[in-house]
């Protein structure tokens, strides 16, 4: 009896779960093998592209040592993390403000505004960069503290993109919070600002977390605008610095390039791990309602 139950349970497990696990394992192979290559290249003691294998042939920290001794990787790293964290935090705040307006108020230009912020992001960026460059040549003359080679100038440009598809995502989530909640708060004498900060924001933390993560990742990866702004070797971000490494000495620098790639993936993974519990909820765009 007991044996048949077990085997029945086993067949049931096979039918319901095993194939899922099998397919997920296949997906994992696809997702992870390039990363395995990076890991083995990063710890490859020879540090060249041609000697890198998928499965590590040896392990050493020579690449890490070279990375920190031969390049200002430490300051690149600090720059990247500081810029990405600040940009993520401010973008989340600005975007949440706008999403609240789009979700809770009806005003002229609302539809145009929503569609507009989606469309404006579609302009090819590399040419707007010519304009941004000319613009900031003037800005640097007048206000050097927010000009070229500063974090502030770069962040201002990034913040220009604060209202984007992320605002849509937030608005969708805000829509799922019943209007009655903030209306009853207002009846109780709360201002619209109090309703936003004390009622709305705590309820939408998941979507704030996910937008924060998305902005963090895209800022760490951003390359084109940063290359125009940060020309001083010390002020570069990791993305810029690593690109410089590999565009020159491709083969010889491959190991330190891989090591840098791994190191910059770490804070992203940390942020992801930290926000894990919000993420599934947070990605729920609220336009789906039962």
């Amino acid at each position: 009896m007991a044996a048949t139950t077990t085997s029945r349970r086993a067949t049931r497990w096979l039918r319901e779960s095993a194939w899922r696990h099998l397919l997920l394992w296949l997906a994992l192979v696809f997702a992870l093998f390039p990363i395995l290559f990076v890991v083995s290249a990063a710890f490859n003691p020879l540090g060249t592209l041609s000697s890198s294998r998928l499965v590590p042939t040896g392990a050493g920290l020579d690449n890490a040592r070279r990375l920190f001794q031969e390049t200002p990787f430490g300051s690149w790293y600090v720059n990247s993390v500081v810029i990405a964290l600040t940009n993520a935090a401010v973008t989340v705040f600005l975007s949440a403000l706008a999403a609240y307006a789009f979700s809770r108020f009806r005003f002229t230009g609302r539809r145009v505004g929503l569609v507009g912020i989606l469309l404006i992001q579609m302009f090819p960026q590399f040419l707007a960069i010519v304009a941004i460059y000319l613009m900031f040549t003037t800005v640097t003359d007048y206000w050097p503290t927010v000009g070229f080679d500063t974090r502030w100038g770069l962040m201002l440009v990034y913040l220009g993109g604060a209202l984007s598809v992320n605002t849509w995502m937030m608005k969708g989530f805000f829509d799922t919070v019943p209007v009655e909640l903030d209306e009853s708060a207002k009846v109780d004498g709360a201002t619209h600002a109090q309703a936003f900060f004390r009622i709305m924001l705590p309820l939408v933390t998941p979507v704030l977390a996910i937008v924060g993560l998305l902005v963090f990742i895209s800022t760490v990866n951003e390359f084109l605008i940063a290359s125009v702004f940060l020309r001083d070797p010390e002020s570069k971000t990791v993305a810029l610095g690593l690109y410089g490494l590999i565009s020159g000495e491709r083969n010889a620098n491959f190991g330190i390039f891989a090591m840098g790639t791994l190191l910059i993936a770490l804070p992203t993974m940390a942020v992801f791990w930290f926000l894990q519990r919000f993420i599934v909820e947070g990605l729920t765009s609220g336009s789906v309602k039962g």
Binding site: L32, R111, V165, T261, F272, Q276, T284, S285, G290
Partner: protein, 527 residues
């Protein structure tokens, strides 16, 4: 909060029960805005830039009006993001649009006076009394692409930086020099190595630093420069440039922004003029552009649509695999590992994938025991790019789909099953349509992003492979990489034309997106 708790306020609109802390915060924020305004105004005032000053005053006034007036509540929430959006997205776009009707680019950068100064400086010849300078060639920023700068040491030891705009003095403290006085380093400039100078040899030889009154500084070799007098000078009475050595007159052509001689020879340095729709008409009139344009456009749409489809399908399939009633064993570990590609820096991974596809020592060939030139053939290159882009993009879709699936009530699918629908039918007819409503804006922005995904192509195939009979357009070129090569490579920068192509690309993407937004229910949801 709570100052007037229990006491219903007579006013129906906003503004009741403003707490002291809230007021204080508001006052601080406005004070900050005011001080930022003053901070921004001071240098503008010093430079007597009244237009700039007016804009700063207007923006500050707008901020105060928005937050002090009890009306226009949505404005209070929209203003900060919108101001940044206008300054750093909309203005650059408008600038680009206005550039698209000019001939702005190399040889047509500044106004007519700057062109004349450049022509005069370029024509200088060494005179017996010429001043000699010690020269160090440097760049403003990146050694390969930054603007060239001559770092000069005069016989009296004074140091200067000179570029095509003119000469600026350097503070001796910002400069390091060798014992002979030749500069070896200067703050804000990158000194070029001999190899880097050789790569840009033509530019170094062509650079002339105008020093006013028909004189200029040119290099002679890599470590010396001289200040000479111009042989070509501008004559106001004929609006032309006269070459004193040959006697040729170059008359100003205001339509082309060039000085042209009677036999049609134009001087290199021109100025920026409006060219109307010429840049747009080049799609039709320029044979090199027109011939490749439609095949590139087709592949471009295929690439963007294909990527969107693949990442969506794979992401959704994985989300569905893990969407079980009881959580799968190891669910969160699966989730973290599947999202890892998204956490890796994408530009680095693109370069890495290129190396994996390498024909000689690439990982793929080594692992599969093949000898395929993946990036060398049209269709293998296209397939490879799609594969790489799918790898980069599916984790995001997986996350989005996971979230969206949670929001679709499970009961709906179950009800359909009870009514006799198969699992696939229940998914296709009930769950999927609901999912699509949530995901359409994200799919559209994915499409739009990939339509202009410069990095994905540039860092892997750089547009190639190229057929021998058309070296300008490769088989994996997107419009944006093709434009990049046309506009910035080879014949020098043509911002005007590149802007026109940008505007054109923008129109295509925007129209495609608007149509699909309208087709879907996403816009109706915008109530």
């Amino acid at each position: 909060m709570g100052a007037s708790e229990g006491a219903p306020t007579p006013r129906a609109n906003d503004g009741p029960a403003v707490s002291a802390a809230g007021l204080a915060l508001k006052a601080c924020a406005l004070g900050l805005a005011a001080s930022l305004g003053v901070w921004a105004a001071v240098p503008l005032f010093d430079a007597a830039n009244w237009v700039g000053l007016g804009i700063v005053a207007a923006v500050t006034a707008l901020i105060f009006y928005a937050y002090l007036s009890p009306r226009h509540v949505p404005l209070k929430y929209l203003l900060p993001g919108t101001l940044l959006l206008v300054a750093f997205q909309i203005l650059p776009v408008l600038y680009t649009v206005s550039t698209s009707v000019t001939n702005f680019g190399d040889g047509h950068r500044g106004d007519k006076e700057q062109a004349i100064a450049a022509i005069e400086a370029y024509s200088v010849v060494r005179a017996p009394d010429s001043t000699d300078y010690a020269l160090t060639v440097a760049a403003d920023g990146d050694p390969a692409t930054g603007g060239l700068v001559f770092l000069l040491t005069a016989p009296d030891g004074a140091v200067y930086a000179g570029d095509a705009e003119g000469l600026t003095g350097l503070a001796p403290g910002d400069v390091t020099a060798d014992p002979s006085g030749r500069i070896t380093g200067a703050d804000g400039y990158t000194v070029l190595t001999t190899g880097q100078i050789n790569d840009r040899g033509g530019e170094v030889a062509d650079l002339a630093v105008p020093t006013g009154d028909g004189s200029g500084i040119r290099s002679s070799g890599l470590s010396a420069a001289y200040e000479g007098t111009a042989t070509r000078t501008y004559q106001e009475d004929c609006d032309c440039v006269v070459d004193s050595a040959t006697g040729v007159e170059y008359a100003a052509d205001e339509e082309a922004g060039l000085f042209v001689s009677a036999d049609g020879e134009a001087l290199l340095q021109g100025w920026q003029v409006g060219v109307g729709a010429d840049n747009f008409l080049r799609f039709l009139t320029d044979r090199t552009v027109a011939s490749s344009f439609f095949s590139i456009l087709t592949w471009n749409i295929g690439f963007a649509a294909g990527t969107t489809f693949l990442v969506f399908t794979l992401g959704l399939a994985l989300a569905l695999l893990m969407h079980t009633r009881k959580p799968l064993r190891g669910q969160s570990l699966y989730r973290i590992l599947l999202v890892l590609p998204y956490a890796m820096p994408s530009f680095a991974m693109l370069l890495l994938w290129r190396d994996m596809f390498n024909v000689d020592f690439g990982l793929i060939n080594r692992m599969l025991g093949l000898d395929v030139d993946w990036l060398g053939g049209t269709w293998t290159a296209r397939g490879s790019i799609l594969l790489v882009n799918t790898w980069l993009g599916f984790p995001y879709m997986f996350l989005v789909a996971t979230g969206a699936l949670q929001a679709v009530p499970r009961e709906l699918g179950q009800a359909a099953r009870i009514d006799g629908a198969s699992a696939w039918q229940a998914f296709r007819d009930v769950t999927l349509p609901l999912l699509m409503v949530a995901m359409t804006p994200i799919l559209i922005s994915t499409f739009a992003f990939n339509f202009n995904n410069f990095n994905a192509v540039w860092l892997t195939t750089a547009g190639g492979p190229f057929s021998p009979d058309n070296p300008l357009a490769g088989s994996t070129d997107l419009l944006i990489t093709y434009t990049f090569r046309l506009a910035f490579g080879g014949q020098g920068a043509q911002y005007g034309f590149a802007s026109a192509v940008s505007v054109f690309i923008f129109l295509i993407v925007a129209i495609l997106s608007l149509v699909s937004l309208r087709q879907s229910r996403a816009l109706e949801e915008v109530r």
